[in-house]
C-alpha cells in the first residue's frame, strides 16, 4: 500500500474558521492508502514541518498530502522539507483548502465537505505520483539586453558591473531611447541629457558591454541558460572601425529629410547621427533617403570623408551569439493621435502638437534651441492649452489604461513654459490628477501656484478661429461649456508598446497582454520575470511608467540576471512532457502546438509493424527539457496519448477526478 500521510493546516484561523479541520483530518484517516493524519496550526512553520518529518519516520510515510493554502504559496517549501526526509520531493500533493475553500465559502458544513473532497482527490493523485528527478543544465554566463533606452542602459550597466558580459542591441543608430529626447525631467527638473548621456558613455566604454546599435534580434532559439540568438546588424554604409565621427559627411550631404528624432520640426541629412551626443557617435546612411543608394548619383560623402569610411556596397550582417539570460527593454512609442482624434484636427493644425514634440521644442539642443514657438508661424504663443489623457483612459478611441507619466509631465510642461515665456497663460485639461510618487504632489502644487489653470474636462473639439485654436470642453466642476483661445495646444498622448515589440515577444515565447505590453510572470511577486525562464522585463515595455520606476525595474531585472548568471548550472523542473516512444507515431501534432518550440522530431530505431517487422529509423517526438515549460498543450494534441506530462499524467488526473465520485 502507498503509506500516505495527510496533514491538515489551520492557517491560524484562516482555514480553521471556515472549515472543521479536525473533522477533515478524521475523514482523511479512512481514505484508501492513508496511514496517518494530523492537523496543526501552521504547517509551514518550523514546528509544523518538524511534525511532518517526525511522522514520516514514525509511520514510514512514503507519500504526503498537505491540506493548506494554494500550492503557489508553499509547494516549494514542502518540497524542500521532503528533500531532507529522503522521500522524493515530488511525492507530495497540496489540497488547496484555503483559497479554494475557506476564503470562498460561508457555510462551514459544506465547506468542510468540500475540503474533504479535495483531500480525497489529492490522496488519490499522490498514490499515483511517481518519483521525479530534475536535471542540471549548464548556463552560458552572458546576457543580452534588447533595447537601449534608459531601461536597457541601466540593466546592461548593472549586469556588466557585476562582472558578466552583456550585449546591448538597439535598433536605432544610437542608444538613449525616449529619455534623450526629453528636455527636463520631473519631479526635479534636472536636464534629461545631463543625467542620461554619462550613462550612455559608460555603456560604450564598459569592458564587459558589447554595444550593437542599428541592430535587431532576428531569431531566438534555446532556453534559460542556453539561448542562441541571431542578431541582424543593419547596413550602415560607414566603416565604424575607422570613422572618427568628425561629421564632415553629414554637413555636406545634399539630401534632407524630416528628422524623426526632432519629431519633424527640423531636417536631417541622409548620412546622420541621431543627435549630437549620440552613442556610438558615428553616422550611418539611411538608405531610403540617400541619393547615391537610390539613384546612383551623388557620392558626396565618399568624396568628403578624409578616412575613406564610406562603403555604398555595405550589406546587412547576421551573426549568432549565445546567452544565458535576456532582458527585454523595448520601451514605447506615443500613440498616433491624429488617427484616433478627428475632433482635434487629425493633424491638420500644425500648432496642435504632442508632448514629445513639445519636448524637442523646449529643448535647448532642439531645433529651435529651446525657444517655444508655434510651428506654423514661428511666433511665441501667449496662451497654451495642454490636454491630458489623449488616447489614454479612453477605451472607445484609444486605450483603457492610464499612461502614468502624463499627469506629471503635463505639469512639467507648464512649468517649462512659465520658465520661458513671460506673461503666458497655461490651461491644463484633465480627467484626474494622479501624483503618486515621491515629491510628485508637491510638484503639482507648485505648478498651480505658478499659475497653471487646471480645467476638469475632456476637450471635445479643437477648431480654428482666424489664427487661434479654440479648445472646447465641458468644465465638469462648473458644469459649463468652456472655450479656450489657444495659440498652441499640446496633447499628452498615450504610451503604446514600441512597434515590433510583439514580434520580439513572439521570438522569445513571452506573452503580451491585450494592449501589447509584455506580461510579467506574476503582477506582484514576479514583476520583472516573464513566464519564459531566463527572459526578464525592464522599463516601459512591460507597461507605462516614468523614469524612476523604469530604472528601478531595470536594476531589479539586472539583479535577477546576475543571480542566474552567478550559477554554473541550474536545476530544471522535472515536471515536463515525456514521450512514450513505442506509442508515438511521429505525427508531429505536438511539435505544431508547443508554444515554446520545445519539441522536435527525432529518430529512433524500431521494428515497424506493417513493414514486415523491418528494423527502421522512425520519427518520434523529442522534448527538450530546458525549453519545456510543462504547459501540457502537447498532451492534449497527441491523439494517442504518447506524450504525457510528468507529475500530471492523464491517469493521475483521472484518478483525482474519479475520487470525487465515491
Amino acid at each position: 500500500m502507498s503509506k500516505v500521510g495527510v496533514f491538515v493546516c489551520h492557517c491560524g484561523t484562516n482555514i480553521a474558521a471556515a472549515v472543521d479541520v479536525v473533522r477533515a483530518c478524521e475523514a482523511a484517516k479512512s481514505m484508501p492508502g492513508v496511514v496517518h493524519a494530523a492537523e496543526y496550526k501552521y504547517m509551514c512553520s518550523e514546528p509544523g514541518q518538524q511534525m511532518i518529518l517526525d511522522a514520516i519516520k514514525e509511520y514510514g510515510l512514503k507519500r504526503i498530502v498537505i491540506a493548506s493554502c494554494s500550492p503557489r504559496m508553499h509547494e516549494t517549501t514542502f518540497r524542500k522539507m521532503l528533500k531532507k526526509s529522503g522521500v522524493n520531493e515530488y511525492l507530495i500533493e497540496i489540497a488547496n483548502i484555503r483559497e479554494q475553500v475557506a476564503w470562498v465559502h460561508d457555510d462551514k458544513e459544506k465547506a468542510t465537505e468540500k475540503a474533504i473532497d479535495l483531500i480525497r482527490m489529492a490522496v488519490a493523485k499522490v498514490c499515483r505520483d511517481e518519483p521525479l528527478k530534475s536535471q542540471m543544465i549548464p548556463i552560458t554566463k552572458r546576457a543580452l539586453v534588447i533595447g537601449g533606452g534608459i531601461a536597457g542602459i541601466q540593466a546592461a550597466l548593472d549586469i556588466a558591473d557585476a562582472g558578466h558580459e552583456v550585449t546591448l542591441v538597439e535598433r536605432e543608430p544610437s542608444i538613449g531611447g525616449r529619455m534623450v529626447m526629453l528636455d527636463k525631467t520631473f519631479p526635479t527638473l534636472d536636464c534629461s541629457a545631463c543625467i542620461s548621456t554619462p550613462k550612455m558613455v559608460d555603456v560604450s566604454a564598459h569592458p564587459n558591454i558589447r554595444l550593437l546599435a542599428y541592430s535587431e534580434v532576428a531569431k531566438v532559439e534555446g532556453y534559460i541558460g542556453n539561448f542562441t540568438v541571431t542578431i541582424r546588424q543593419k547596413a550602415r554604409y560607414v566603416n565604424h572601425d575607422i570613422c572618427t565621427g568628425c561629421g564632415a559627411c553629414s554637413e555636406k550631404c545634399p539630401a534632407k529629410v524630416p528628422s524623426a528624432f526632432n519629431k519633424g520640426l527640423s531636417k536631417r541629412p541622409a548620412i546622420y547621427t541621431l543627435f549630437p551626443q549620440a552613442v556610438p557617435a558615428k553616422p550611418v546612411i539611411d538608405k531610403d533617403s540617400c541619393i547615391k543608394l537610390k539613384s546612383g548619383k551623388c557620392g558626396v560623402c565618399e568624396k568628403i570623408c578624409p578616412l575613406g569610411c564610406i562603403n555604398y556596397e555595405d550589406e546587412d550582417m547576421e551573426f549568432t551569439e549565445d546567452f544565458g539570460a535576456i532582458v527585454t527593454a523595448t520601451g514605447y512609442q506615443t500613440a498616433d493621435w491624429a488617427q484616433m482624434y478627428d475632433e482635434y484636427g487629425a493633424g491638420r493644425f500644425p500648432d496642435v502638437i504632442d508632448g514629445l514634440t513639445f519636448e524637442r521644442l523646449v529643448n535647448a539642443s532642439g531645433p529651435t534651441e529651446g525657444h517655444i514657438v508655434r510651428p506654423s508661424d514661428g511666433t511665441e504663443p501667449k496662451t497654451i492649452s495642454i490636454i491630458k489623457c489623449v488616447g489614454s483612459r479612453d477605451p472607445k478611441k484609444g486605450r483603457a489604461y492610464c499612461s502614468r507619466a502624463c499627469c506629471m509631465y503635463a505639469a512639467k510642461h507648464a512649468r517649462q513654459i512659465f520658465g520661458k515665456i513671460e506673461g503666458v497663460r497655461v490651461f491644463i485639461f484633465y480627467i484626474d490628477v494622479r501624483t503618486p510618487g515621491k515629491g510628485y504632489e508637491e510638484f503639482y502644487d507648485k505648478t498651480r501656484e505658478d499659475g497653471a489653470i487646471y480645467v476638469r474636462g475632456r476637450v471635445s473639439r479643437i477648431y480654428k478661429e482666424g489664427d487661434t485654436l479654440i479648445c472646447q470642453a465641458e468644465d465638469s466642476l462648473l458644469g459649463k461649456q468652456v472655450r479656450v483661445k489657444s495659440d498652441l495646444v499640446i496633447l499628452e498622448t498615450a504610451m503604446e508598446p514600441a512597434e515590433g515589440s510583439a514580434s520580439v515577444a513572439g521570438m522569445l515565447g513571452a506573452a503580451v497582454d491585450g494592449d501589447g505590453w509584455l506580461t510579467e510572470a506574476h503582477p506582484k511577486l514576479r514583476p520583472v520575470e516573464t513566464q519564459v525562464g531566463g527572459v526578464f522585463l525592464a522599463g516601459v515595455c512591460q507597461g507605462p511608467k516614468d523614469i524612476p520606476d523604469t530604472v528601478s525595474q531595470a536594476s531589479a531585472a539586472a539583479a535577477k540576471v546576475i543571480g542566474l548568471l552567478n550559477k554554473n548550472e541550474m536545476e530544471s523542473s522535472p515536471m515536463i512532457a515525456s514521450v512514450e516512444a513505442d506509442k508515438c507515431s511521429g505525427c508531429s501534432a505536438c511539435e505544431a502546438i508547443c508554444p515554446y518550440k520545445a519539441i522536435t522530431m527525432g529518430e529512433q530505431p524500431g521494428r515497424e509493424a506493417g513493414g514486415n517487422s523491418k528494423k527502421v529509423m522512425r520519427p518520434i517526438a523529442v522534448v527538450n527539457a530546458g525549453l519545456c515549460q510543462g504547459c501540457g498543450a502537447c498532451t492534449v494534441a497527441c491523439r494517442t496519448g504518447a506524450i504525457d506530462l510528468l507529475g500530471y499524467r492523464n491517469r493521475q488526473i483521472l484518478e483525482e477526478v474519479d475520487a470525487l465520485w465515491v
Binding site: K583, G586, C587, G611, G641
Partner: protein, 284 residues
Amino acid sequence: MNYTEKTKLIQTRAAALLEAGEVSYVLGWGATRFADKTRARFARSPEEAATLVYNEHCTQSLAKYLVDDRWPETRIAILARGCESRAINRMIRDNQIRRENLLILGLPCEGTDAERCRSCRAHDPVVYDELLWEPNSTGAAAAAELSRYYRADAVDALSAAEKKAYWDDVYARCIRCYACRNACPVCSCRECFVDMHRTGFQGKRHSATDNQTFGVTRAFHVGDRCIECGECERACPMGLPILAQTQKILKEIEALAGDYEQGLDAAQDNYLGAFDLDDKDDFM
C-alpha cells in the same frame, strides 16, 4: 475518353512499370463478383496489371493502404484521384509515409457513383508524378452538385431537441466495429484510443454513452485534418452519417478562419492543433 479507354491506359502504364521493375506493385482497383462493385487490387506483375479496372464503381479511396507499407523496399505506384492525392499529402504531413517512396499516377476524376463524390471540390489530383489523362477542364475545384458541408448542413437545420434525437439514434445503431477508423487516411496512431484498455475515460461496453464518447473523440481526432474523402461513411456497415461530424468541424473552422481545406499540400498546418501568436483569442 471512356472508362474502357482509361482502364486500358492504366493497365498499359502499370504493366510497363512492373516490367521495368520500377515499382514493387501498382495499387489500383480490380473487379469483384458483383458488377457494380470494385475492390483494391495490388498488381505485382505485368499479368496482374491486366486485371486492374477503372470505372464509376471505384468508390474506395486507396490511400489508406499505404500506411500498411510504410517502409517499402522499392517504390510503390498508386493510382490517385483528388481524394487519394489529398490523403497522400495529409499522410506525408503526419510523417506516416514518405513522398520519395511513391510513384503517383494521377487520375483526373469525374466522380464515382458514391453520393459524397457529388460534393467533391477536388476531382483532379493535387500531387502526382504523372497524369494518365488530361485534367478536367473545369479545374480541380469543379462545380459540385452538393454543398461542401451537405451532411452537416442537414443536421444544423434541426432544432436542439431534434439534434439530440438524431445523434441518440445514430449511436444506438453504431456497433463500434471501428471500420470508419480503419478506413480513414488520417487515422494513423500506432495505438488508437479505442484499442486501449483502462484509459479511464473510454469504456469498452456497447452502451449509448461509450458509443458517443467514441464518436465525438474520433471526430475531434480527425477534425481539422479531415480531407473530406468520406471513406468513413463508405466503410460503415450501419450506414451512419459520420461525415456530418468532421464536416461540422471544418464548417466552424471556415467560419472562424476563412478558407480552409486539408491535404492541398504536404506542409499545411492543422488549424486547431497549431500554436501561433496570432491565434484568435478574443473569447478569452
